[in-house]
Amino acid sequence: MFLLIITLISCTLFQEVRAMQQTQEHVRFDVILKSSASGKDPTLDNIEEFFPESEHIEICRLWFKQQGVAVYATDFGLSGETSQAIFEKIFKVKLIPSKSGGEGNGWIVEGTLQVPPSIADYIDQVTLTVLPELF
């Protein structure tokens, strides 16, 4: 039930790509934790309902840290960065560097991302971070 599909980034979305650089071996990702509003669409009126329990953030932060992942708390979960190998091991997928994302900005994900059981109860979604374009 915690299987998540990572959105693939198509180069056709990018005109005149000037994306910020991300090395291929270095993977950034974002985690949104479950909250009382999970399943709803976030709006300005209900955004505070998406704040997860701070205790849950801390549990997940420590878990990722133990796996050798650098993670930072956000209002809604965590942002992390790690090596391609560790990411693949944790989430049981294969990452293939995609040049089509622009300047090393994309990955093609082979397989379906699986959240480890130890933290699965707390996690709403995990997504790879795509760096923006400079306008």
Binding site: L4, I6, T7, T12, L13, F14, Q15, E16, M20, R28, D30, I32, P42, T43, L44, I47, E48, F50, A70, Y72, T74, D75, F76, G77, S79, E81, Q125, T127, L128, T129, V130, L131, P132, E133, L134, F135
Partner: protein, 451 residues
């Protein structure tokens, strides 16, 4: 700097008195403890300076150890009975291409002048070469004349009518503005202007003061152009969600962002990977922070398309002060947020193909550098911080104003643009449109409207 155009700067050292030593003596070892031994009486320096002046030499300074003087190359050659030539400089010495040295070479004759017994009073005279400036960047924008370009801060401030607001005392004082971008190099320009400039790193980046791209360093100059008195904090960004979170924690009044994703339209709905960023922006707005985003340069820019942010497009002003929409910038109806038209208002922006319209400071060697620590780049990346600066002026005048109040003030005081088309072929016409939104922000009208 005078050893050019036939003019020679030189130093004159007088002969030592009895019991004193010449600084040119091969056995002289001047140091702090024995400087007196090499110091001539000041009266003698004055006497020699007067005699030099009487003989047509220009005196610039009479120092403790030497006299600083200058004359034309022709005068120098006749006065010292010598010949001045251009010195060949070693090619591997990293000397600027335009640097030249002129002096008598070793084979040239040399004779001290006998007029007024100067040959008995002068120990040595030597050409004082211009120093090579080691500063990597010029502190002021260069005047490149190959194309019509704007310079910060003056041109930007005047065209957006912020200069007159500054004169009335509104400069953004007490307003904290944060910008998330590629880094914030402490360019000499910022010091020269006396800006309140500070930078930090987001947790997933290193070294905020290094900006090898140049984007953040350059674009924040646009912010200072319209709001020179702000308290500025740059956040060097990696993961954009984390950058917005870092910026929010600084409790600013305004966050300016010159980046985004071209997705609101090409993708039918917001993908999951953008939800963390979307929520971070909503959270910042909920905390009362005014968020400004570039609309994009022909992109379908998100988060610039969020209704909760101020979305900034572009207007170009040519050398005849004609205002028009520019073919470089975005304007579209959001597919994700029904009823949302992008942009809200516009700042200044260049035209295709490169939009190299505004001369901006960058770190030496940065990707965007053209020369001397300066580049020329101005998509909606440039326009957004200009508008963020005007938001700061409004916030200073009306601290109680919400983000929505500020947006409305910008919209209803903007200069309507009725000419030109943007990158999405949207035509500018009277009233709000998709070419420039409500038009070019007008700081003077915005402030007049409030006070």
């Amino acid at each position: 700097m005078g050893n050019k155009n036939g003019y020679i700067n030189f130093e004159v050292v007088v002969t030592p008195e009895d019991g004193k030593k010449s600084i040119f003596d091969p056995n002289a070892f001047p140091g702090i403890s024995n400087l007196d031994l090499f110091t001539p009486p000041i009266d003698k320096n004055i006497e020699v300076a007067q005699k030099l002046q009487r003989n047509g030499i220009e005196i610039h300074h009479i120092g403790e150890f030497s006299i600083s003087a200058s004359c034309t190359k022709k005068k120098f050659e006749s006065f010292f009975n010598t010949e001045v030539n251009k010195i060949q400089l070693p090619k591997d010495a990293n000397i600027p291409d335009d640097y030249e040295m002129f002096a008598p070479d070793k084979s040239s004759p040399w004779k001290l002048p006998s007029e007024d017994s100067l040959d008995t009073l002068i120990d040595r005279a030597y050409v004082q070469h211009d120093p090579i400036l080691f500063a990597d960047e010029r502190p002021l924008p260069p005047l490149w004349t190959d194309e019509f370009r704007l310079r910060v801060p003056v041109d930007v401030a005047q065209i957006l009518r912020a200069s007159s607001v500054h004169k009335r005392g509104y400069t953004g004082k007490g307003v904290k503005v944060v910008m998330a971008d590629t880094g914030f190099y402490h360019h000499p320009y910022f010091k020269e202007q006396g800006y309140n400039f500070m930078a930090i790193t987001a947790p997933d980046t290193l070294d905020h003061s290094s900006d090898s791209h140049g984007h953040g360093t350059g674009e924040c100059a646009n912010l200072f152009a319209t709001a020179p008195g702000i308290n500025f904090v740059g956040v060097k960004m990696g993961n954009p969600t984390l950058a917005i979170k870092t910026a929010t924690e600084l409790k600013p009044d305004i966050i300016s962002n010159s980046w985004g994703y071209s997705v609101d339209g090409p993708l039918p709905e917001m993908p999951n990977w953008l939800k963390p960023l979307y929520m971070a922006v909503l959270s910042a707005v909920k905390r009362g922070i005014t968020i400004v985003f570039s609309a994009g340069n022909g992109h379908y820019g998100f988060p610039g398309s969020m209704p909760e942010v101020i979305s900034v497009g572009g207007v170009v002003v040519d050398s005849d002060l004609e205002y028009s929409a520019t073919n470089y910038t975005s304007g579209f109806k959001s597919r994700w947020f029904p009823g949302r038209n992008v942009p809200d208002v516009s700042g200044l922006c260049g035209v295709r193909p490169r939009a190299d319209y505004i001369v901006l400071p960058v770190q030496k060697g940065a990707v965007l550098e053209i020369a001397d620590g300066w580049g020329a780049f101005s998509g909606t990346s440039a326009a957004a911080p200009m508008v963020a600066g005007v938001c700061a002026l409004i916030k200073e005048a009306k601290p109680e104003y919400s983000s929505a109040d500020i947006k409305n003030t910008l919209k209803f005081t903007a200069r309507d643009i009725i000419k030109g088309v943007n990158a999405h072929n949207q035509e500018a016409r009277p009233g709000p449109d998709l070419a420039t939104g409500f038009g070019l922000v007008d700081a003077a009208r915005a402030i007049e409207n409030l006070i």
